[in-house]
Amino acid sequence: MEDTNKDKPNSRRKFLQLGLGLGAVSVATAVAGKALAAGPEGGEKSAPSASGEKVKVLTTDGKVVEVDAAQLSLAKASGKFVSPSESHIGIPGRKFVMVIDLSKCKNARKCIEACQEGHYLPKDHEWMKVFLMQDANTTAPYWFPKPCFHCDNPLCVSVCPVGATYKRSDGIVLVDTDRCIGCKFCMTGCPYSARVFNWNKPEVEYPSDMKYSPERAVPQKEGTVGKCVFCADKLRKGELPRCVAACPMGVLYFGDILEDSVTNGTETVRFSELIRNRAGYRHLENLGNMPSVYYLPPVDRQFPVDSGYDDLKPELKERFKNIPYIKNTKLKKP
């Protein structure tokens, strides 16, 4: 994988840029011809395998020949199917980390939408959640996006009786819903409410040919537990997780801590510098679970916290009615 990427950073970067704000799966356009695939997600399905992919080459003497893309280091890392047992093995030589810049989040909810589309989740299942936090009545509120923290000392994994959830060498914690018995012990074990239970059969249309892999976790199964997977399927292809790619504000940074590098799709920075300069921290550090997700405090904000509230649909506004700040500023009758 490393090699295939090395010589084509340009194309890689283009993909990342194009990927921003996209992600559509619907039969919306009546005008489309048969040549359309819906969105970048749909594209994956028909992507040829790396070895079989041919690229036309114009040779020195003006002839056009077809050459295997892999030989020209043009092949995209393949979206190869990863079976549940293979998914126990992490991406070699990687240790993933996410940094969330709280000063930039304005609750646009694009991360949630991209996640739900990419993993074919029902609308009320949020693997990525955005909380409106106000630590005390006298402190300032802020938006708090929260994926699974993929802890290095994951209590959810420790308490699983059948090994249905596991932590890999690259730091990702996955759930194998073929194994999960639905005891929900992991849900009580996780202090960050990262896990979601499928209380009934998820009423979501998903491509029927999609084979189940814990790395993408599609489809979700009734009576089992689901959660954020750091888009392990995307990472296998060297692409950013869906939420990171979808965030229009560049709130979410993702990268490999061994490379000391995180990117939000447009900007790539050194992880250690970011954490040092911006006083990065981990949520509820005192619990000792050692999350892989770091937060940058909401200082010098780019948006007032209200901007994330005012544009919401009424039913989403309801969620925050008990936050002192919202009570005092938004819900008070003049």
Binding site: V27, K34, V55, T60
Partner: protein, 287 residues
């Protein structure tokens, strides 16, 4: 290629809805083509055409469609868009391309259209520029030395000055910027390479110098692998026995074994006693 059921559904839905619209010739939609040009380290030129449709704030990729590449007016070849809607053409270094009078070359890509998809075109005009990169230690300073040049008619090199070059190291998900610098009159620039960047386990890093989206020259890049990084152990550390691993820590297995053998040992003893009671019962009772 294997067409997928969901795709068939999509298609069926489209045909159903599209029928009345198809009847009217005017209702075609025009895809967009993002056309990029990249000159790579080995001097080859990569043309990349991404064909897509942007509707209702959503993007639809145009896949498995032939597009026609041409350079300097000569049509070169057809190529097919892949699963991400991208068609590639790689032009090997030294391939003769027709130039415009001012020394530039115009590349064109044409999508002829199909069914309700309209035709689309894109073109790019660039001037061929070379980039040389040397990674050397000057006065114990690790220096990235880049030179931009054009090749004259007689094979001579003409320095290109005043162009901004970005220097990156390659990372798994993106390029990490080290710095940027503008070439001087001699077409050259120097940039100090930091000493504290982590590299592979042997300390190697891939340094990439790029001229990006330049109006005149397009994208030109040069990358080299150098052992200027701090060696980082990327080998997988497998934790075998912890609370969260699949296999339990030894002390836990030992404790459990002691407890269970203790209890079940007594059970077995009692069951043996029951068997003996049964045996005793079979003996005649002595009066």
């Amino acid at each position: 290629m294997n067409r997928k059921p969901s795709y068939v559904l999509l298609l069926a839905a489209m045909i159903l809805i599209a029928q009345p619209i198809c009847a009217q010739e005017s209702s075609k939609v025009a895809p967009t083509i993002d056309f990029t040009y990249l000159k790579r380290t080995d001097g080859s030129k990569l043309l990349q055409a991404k064909v897509y449709l942007f509707q209702n704030r959503k993007t639809y990729l145009v896949v498995n469609q032939d597009v026609l590449f041409s350079a300097g007016g000569d049509s070169i070849t057809r190529a097919t868009t892949d699963g991400e809607g991208i068609a590639y053409l790689l032009i090997q270094p030294g391939a003769k391309l027709k130039e415009n009078p001012d020394g530039t070359t115009t590349f064109k890509v044409n999508y002829p259209g199909k069914d309700t998809l309209d035709a689309a075109n894109a073109e790019i005009t660039v001037r061929d520029m070379g980039m040389a990169m040397h990674l050397e230690v000057l006065d114990s300073v690790r220096t990235v030395h880049v030179k931009l040049f054009e090749t004259g008619k007689k094979g001579d090199t003409i320095p290109v000055s005043g162009q901004t070059v970005d220097i990156y190291v390659h990372r798994m998900l993106s390029l990490q910027k080290i710095g940027e610098e503008t070439t001087g009159d001699n077409g050259e620039l120097n940039l100090e390479f930091p000493r504290d960047l982590p590299g592979e386990s042997d300390g190697s890093v891939t340094v990439v110098a790029r001229v990006e989206e330049n109006e005149k020259y397009g994208n030109v890049e040069n990358s080299q692998v150098k052992d200027w990084g701090i060696p980082v152990d990327h080998s997988v550390v497998i934790t075998t026995r912890a609370l969260w691993t699949q296999i339990a820590p030894w002390w836990m297995i030992i404790t459990l074994t002691i407890l269970l053998t203790g209890v079940w040992g007594h059970y077995i003893y009692v069951i043996v006693q029951l068997v003996m009671i049964k045996k005793d019962g079979n003996k005649p009772v002595l009066k």
